[in-house]
């Protein structure tokens, strides 16, 4: 005789109707951290952050006595300076690791759900395509921002703690918004492109390879076009054909660093926006079709 009746209770608890995207994000992060490669990339990113922390600490220790020989050397050589170039350089290197994580996490985000038939099960629940798409995007953008903006804020805080003054504060606060903007300029188009590839292609490997090929192709086209442009002194706006070049250019302008190409900010921004909007449109179109087929 069974010791209990085989049944389940009716659900009478509260039903949440908002922020379902956060559930998608949380689950994606849980799944992401089951892979060792993610930890490996995070460790490498952590080393880089540690190196920059040492940089800021060394600079501030050296500058404690501005009249010392070490301080004079640092000022003259301009090697350890904590300035816009430090943050731009930090974000450029950090971006490579972030791109790898976004590529790994995002290339399977949609196609694996489609291949494992999970998307049908998910949309059979009260989940809209908006929540699903936003949840997936926030996962990638969140990971990217945590590895770029958060360390920048930590470095700024450290710099202020080690050299507390109104001047240091004013100077370093001005690096926050360029850092956030530059991170977003990289992360948003990359996340949308990876998600669009994942939504378009049937397998994670294909999606990853497709994004890498796009980046390489963009770089190759840029090299060819820039050779022609420079040789014939043609319109420099052609440099905006390469989205990574356009993003780098915007970064240089945001941090008031010398620019490599004669592009206007509007041309560079247009290039990034076109890429992001195109990728976003493909992504939204594909995800939407998964919920309701027209």
């Amino acid at each position: 005789m069974p010791v209990h009746r085989r049944t389940y209770r009716s659900y009478e608890g509260d039903i949440r109707r908002h922020f379902r995207w956060a559930i998608i994000t949380a689950q994606d992060l849980r799944v992401l951290f089951k892979f060792r490669i993610v930890y490996l990339l995070l460790i490498v990113a952590g080393f880089h952050i540690f190196f920059r922390v040492m940089h800021v600490v060394s600079y501030n220790i050296a500058m404690q006595d501005p009249n010392s020989v070490v301080a004079m050397l640092v000022r003259e050589a301009n090697l350890l300076a904590v300035d816009g170039a430090l943050f731009l350089g930090f974000l450029r290197i950090q971006w490579l690791l972030v791109f790898l994580i976004i590529l790994f996490a995002g290339s399977g985000a949609i196609c694996n759900d489609v291949r494992n038939n999970l998307i049908e099960v998910l949309f059979a629940k009260p989940l809209s395509w908006r929540d699903y798409a936003l949840g997936k995007f926030v996962t990638l953008a969140g990971v990217g921002l945590v590895l770029t903006v958060v360390p920048v804020l930590a470095l700024i805080l450290l710099h202020n703690l080690m050299a507390p003054s109104w001047d240091t504060f004013n100077e370093s606060v001005a690096w926050i918004w360029p850092s956030v903007a530059f991170s977003l300029l990289y992360i948003v188009p990359a996340a949308l492109t990876v998600l669009a590839a994942s939504a378009l292609l049937p397998q994670q490997n294909y999606a990853g390879a497709c994004v890498v090929a796009l980046v390489m192709l963009s770089g190759a086209i840029h090299q060819i076009v820039s050779t022609l442009v420079d040789a014939h002194h043609m319109w420099a706006g052609f440099h905006a054909l390469s989205v990574p070049t356009a993003i780098n250019h915007l970064g240089e302008r945001l941090f008031h660093e010398p620019v490599e190409y004669e592009l206007t900010a509007a041309q560079a921004l247009a290039s990034v926006l076109v890429a992001a909007v195109a990728a976003g449109a493909v992504y939204v179109w594909r995800v939407r079709r998964c919920e309701v087929l027209r």
């Binding site: 049944t7 659900y11 494992n116 099960v121 998910l122 087929l293």
Partner: protein, 315 residues
């Protein structure tokens, strides 16, 4: 008062046509479901899965209207899906996570808090009989376990209508019977309405009270199992003590010479159709004259297979 209470219907399809490009997958299908267990029968490619996907709001009807709990689909799909449970035909699994972890996720998607979802995840897995496998990664689940898991995820949010698309696919005979019993239990114990799609007649007959038959996207038959397998007029099942009399003449021959239409079936059973104006008593008289005894006499019922084939033939 909700629209459901006002209309009295859980599901209403009116003149529904669904197209995939130029191909018409469903053509002017109309039927209502007010409760109970309804079987959706049809050969492969009849439009059963399309119909279920249309009910879920995944497909937009090119023509006609679909209402689930009084809500138009797919416009109010999110609201309707709160009360719908769906067991898809194909395997659905998140390979890298455990069964209970994935069910918790499903519960949260349905709107529950994480604690409630986890609690119900455990209950649902126990209910479908794989509670002891809850912490295993789903990639290690067998086909039978995955089928049960699909049922658990469909039940996690306490649905009022369960849509099952070929739920016994890929199961061994024992597993199939267990799955069918599980579906009956869900409907009986939880008062959940069931729409079971299958091309396997015994599955549908085992579970359902009412059957809707589709063929080439058209509804060709809709009725209760009782109606579809109703006794046939002037047709009886007869079994005699002896196959032939002392002279070696089979009873079938005697009947046929008296103008009765006969068909031999399994285990010496004869299906006899009476001529116009003839009464069943005449069979007993003929048996007596033939020198045998009738040991089984019952009005002949149409089998579900016959009803299905008739519907297919008529369409």
């Amino acid at each position: 008062m909700t629209q459901q209470a006002a209309g009295g219907d859980i599901l209403r399809l009116q003149d529904v046509t669904v197209r995939y490009g130029a191909f018409e997958a469903l053509s002017r299908v109309s039927f209502d479901v007010s409760g109970g267990r309804v079987g959706l029968l049809g050969p492969n490619g009849a439009g059963k899965s399309t119909l279920i996907r249309t009910i879920l709001g995944f497909n937009r009807a090119a023509r006609g209207a679909v209402r689930v709990f009084g809500l138009p689909m797919p416009q109010k799909a999110l609201e309707a899906r709160r009360r719908l449970g769906y067991v898809p035909e194909r395997e659905a699994a998140a390979h890298t996570v455990s069964g209970v972890s994935f069910l918790t996720y499903m519960g949260q998607i349905a709107g529950m808090s994480r604690v409630d979802a986890m609690e119900r995840g455990h209950e649902a897995l126990n209910f479908v009989g794989i509670g002891d496998q809850r912490y295993r990664r789903m990639e290690t689940y067998s086909t039978g376990m995955l089928q049960r898991f699909k049922m658990a995820q469909a039940l996690i949010h306490d649905p009022k209508l369960l849509l099952l698309d070929e739920p016994s696919n890929g199961l061994d005979p024992e597993g199939r019977m267990e799955m069918l019993e599980l579906i009956r239990d869900v409907a009986r114990l939880r008062n959940v309405s069931v729409l079971l799609s299958s091309h396997l007649l015994p599955d549908v007959q085992h579970v359902c009270e009412r059957i809707v038959i589709l063929n080439k996207g058209r509804l060709v038959q809709d009725g209760s199992v009782e109606e579809l397998t109703a006794p046939r007029e002037r047709q009886y099942e007869v079994r005699t003590r002896d196959h032939a009399n002392a002279a070696g003449i089979p009873f079938q021959e005697t009947l046929e010479s008296a103008g009765f239409a006969c068909r031999a079936e399994r285990d010496g059973l004869l299906r006899v159709t009476l001529p116009e104006g003839e009464s069943p008593q005449r069979l007993f008289v003929l048996a007596s004259e033939h020198g045998t005894q009738i040991r089984h006499f019952a009005p002949a019922r149409t089998s579900l297979a016959e009803a299905f084939l008739q519907a297919m033939g008529a369409s």
